[in-house]
Symmetry: C3
Subunit: 332 residues, 3 copies
């Protein structure tokens, strides 16, 4: 493995292998496996879990990290090809990325969606351009429509908790003060389908996920024996669910139009997960969320603090699976 | 020892033991004692000494650190219980703290006073809530009314310089452009009393330290054979002093009222330590300050650059004693 | 070697020795050479290469680093002697620098020119004051008129590429949206002269480098058998060049006067390196720039993406030569 950019690049068996490595590292630490190795971390966007868990995971394997945050200690980086750089950005990624890559053994990059052009974001136009500039092992720390480290952590979390491989997985849209990117819903949808689950996307009108994301998940489901459907009928969707995975995202219909999105979501404040949502779910139903989460806007305290919530375990597994990814990329 | 939150949690003998460990680590470095161990550092407020000395101390023991600063590379964290999170903060500490704790072997947290409700700050309402969320060894890197790492460093500094255990220790209020928190005066007052010294709090009218802080120090003094008094009479207070410890703090009478505090301190610009203050002190009198210090507002250049000043040694001892704390929490 | 502040502090032979060490460390890594050693990095100004390459280089030698950025996670630091500190800055460098130095084995400081008083900046008034406060090994990470790490990396880059020691080296002014400091042009000019090259400074009227910088370079050239001239005639300057080194700087004539500088450079937008500039250069001519570079303002895409550009190698060599500097300062 030379890059970890998309869980779809791995077969189901390869994912299972990678998770076995994660479990092995959890059970039998290898504190010198990456001694002398250096991880560069380039954050175009803020972070808590990724920033801390990548550094902690690298250190647990004996390696070191450095962090670069354009616009915060480092100048802004230009990404547009052919730009006449007389504005804010002092350096182009065409220099910045290869230079940072030359200092480290693997590079992680977080670069959210531009959030203006849906087609460009679905095509990962921005992240692909950055990835093409990096000749070293590369990790996607969240791009426009992907977050493979989160997806892998969530897969492991379900394995840890013995959630059936073919269980019912409901990805539900939830409310948020503003339109958020499609990265986690896209990655989660695909991951659950890839795992072979009965995936239901529950979302209000106007928030259907873009066709290419649904198609990609359906292809994964077809290969693994799972299924993917979508609905706006909450009760029916949640009945018998073994997992409710809550996530906020902006309306793809009004992509890049904050005003139209705000108008649409104005009536959707009841899309907040409460205990009542879980009444007809499977008795063992787990509540999942990638974090950060807006308490009492997206999810009620009673759910996050209740016995079904596994959000902290998901977050802990971020470090565990990333150690496996780093090990696979860098150990030899 | 599982937490280092307040020097008052340790008996005098336990402090002496901890300082002996600090001295031992200074004399006989243990560069692999914490190999593979990870320290998480969560800074809600800016820092120079704490930020650098914690990382340096951890590295000197062979361990690693990561730093998270909400609002700066990481989003803001909500602290209020039950908050409807539709504002600035993207994540609640109820998720953030346990998640960060899960990545590391010990967590350090800096969280200053809210500075609005004196009773809540005296009760450490905010820091206690954060501490309750951390299941791992925890270090207080400065809270509303405490700064145990500073207090321990100052104790060691006096030991290093052979300041008599029962010497006269004058904690003097000094001027500052604005009202500062009570953390260091509270911790310093208690530390000197805990050490068994003759402690005099010298402060202008309106700046008497809150009763609970004085009571806590008096209890410590009673146990160690010291004493605690307070006065606004500078000459008498400073006569025969073996230590003058300067510190800025806001008026507890006008807590959270910047305007009233500013009006009160307007006439107090002569509360700046000058050489003339030290004329009647003990010939061996030391000048102490926790830093950062406003030169020529709180303390004159002539004092900071003079032979009595030990402020750099105090700062250096921050690293030394923190290494002992880390060793005690994490080595085995 | 106890400090690395100016390449002029080293004889030509000492530079050659240091570069031999850099090459040795590149060919034969020493991953434990600086085990247990700690590098403090103090950045008064933003950085990409220096910030990442210093940490990566230190880690490659087995050491650790911490980073302090006043105004960003740490409060602002006052530098003026005798200041009455009732403004923004909470701490004076007279405390800050010795304290940080006490935590580490070597300190690196980046402190750009004030950009107001040319004579003070030429005298390195600010950096010298900071350097005087540091009792530990010190590295200049860019000061008002110096950038020795960059100069050393550029020297190595020319050695790597077999650029003749006495080849023609053209340092050309190029356009930029605003007046930049003299650090890199000053360091580059001196380095090329020190290496023994035929150095031509090509710059429009109004952008002649200050006399003391030219004199310093001429002295170095005299010692090494090189030469230093200056001109505003582009064609003649570039004819037969073996290196074109592009750099932006503000008009020394209008030092600190942004408006006058802007008026002057308004007509100079053709001072952007294009392929056409290289037509009469030596066929093996290399294009160099220290980065960051404003594409299509200072240098055209066609040059940066063309076969002559060695800017990425220069950046990579930053890490390599800094490892030699760190090794020389700290290994034993």
């Amino acid at each position: 493995m030379n890059r970890f950019l998309d869980l779809a690049d791995l077969t189901r068996e390869e994912v299972v292998d990678l998770l076995a490595l994660a479990q092995r590292l959890q059970d039998h630490p290898e504190p010198r496996a990456l001694a002398g190795r250096i991880l560069g971390l380039l954050f175009f966007n803020p972070s808590l879990r990724t920033l801390s868990s990548m550094q902690a995971g690298m250190a647990r394997l004996g390696g070191s990290s450095f962090v670069i945050t354009p616009g915060n200690g480092t100048w802004k980086l230009e990404t547009r090809l052919g730009a006449i750089m007389n504005g804010d950005a002092a350096e182009h990624v065409r220099e910045g990325i290869p230079v940072l890559a030359s200092y480290c053994d693997a590079l992680g990059i977080r670069a959210f969606a531009d959030g203006r052009d849906l087609q460009a974001d679905l095509a990962e136009a921005n992240f692909s351009a950055l990835a093409d500039l990096c000749p070293k092992p590369l990790i996607n720390l969240e791009s426009a429509v992907n977050h493979p480290c989160q997806a892998l952590a969530d897969w492991k979390t379900m394995d840890d908790l013995a959630v059936p491989r073919q269980g019912k997985f409901v990805l539900s849209w939830v409310n948020h003060p503003r339109a958020l990117p499609l990265a986690v819903p896209a990655a989660t949808l695909h991951m659950a389908a890839h795992r072979g689950m009965e995936v239901v996307v529950l979302r209000p009108e106007g928030y259907a996920l873009p066709r290419p994301l649904m198609d990609k998940a359906r292809a994964a489901a077809a290969a693994s024996g799972g299924s993917v459907t979508e609905t706006s009928q909450r009760e029916q969707a949640l009945a018998g669910a073994q997992v409710i995975y809550a996530k906020e995202w902006g309306s793809p219909q009004h992509y890049g139009d904050a005003t139209a999105d705000a108008a649409l979501r104005k009536k959707l404040s009841d899309w907040m997960v409460r205990d009542s949502w879980l009444e007809r779910a499977d008795p063992a139903c787990r509540f999942m969320h990638c974090l950060p989460v807006r308490r009492n806007v997206a999810v009620a305290d009673e759910v996050l603090d209740g016995p079904r919530s596994v959000v902290r375990r998901e977050a802990y597994n971020r470090m565990v699976v990333q150690m496996a990814v780093l090990h696979r990329l860098l150990a030899h």
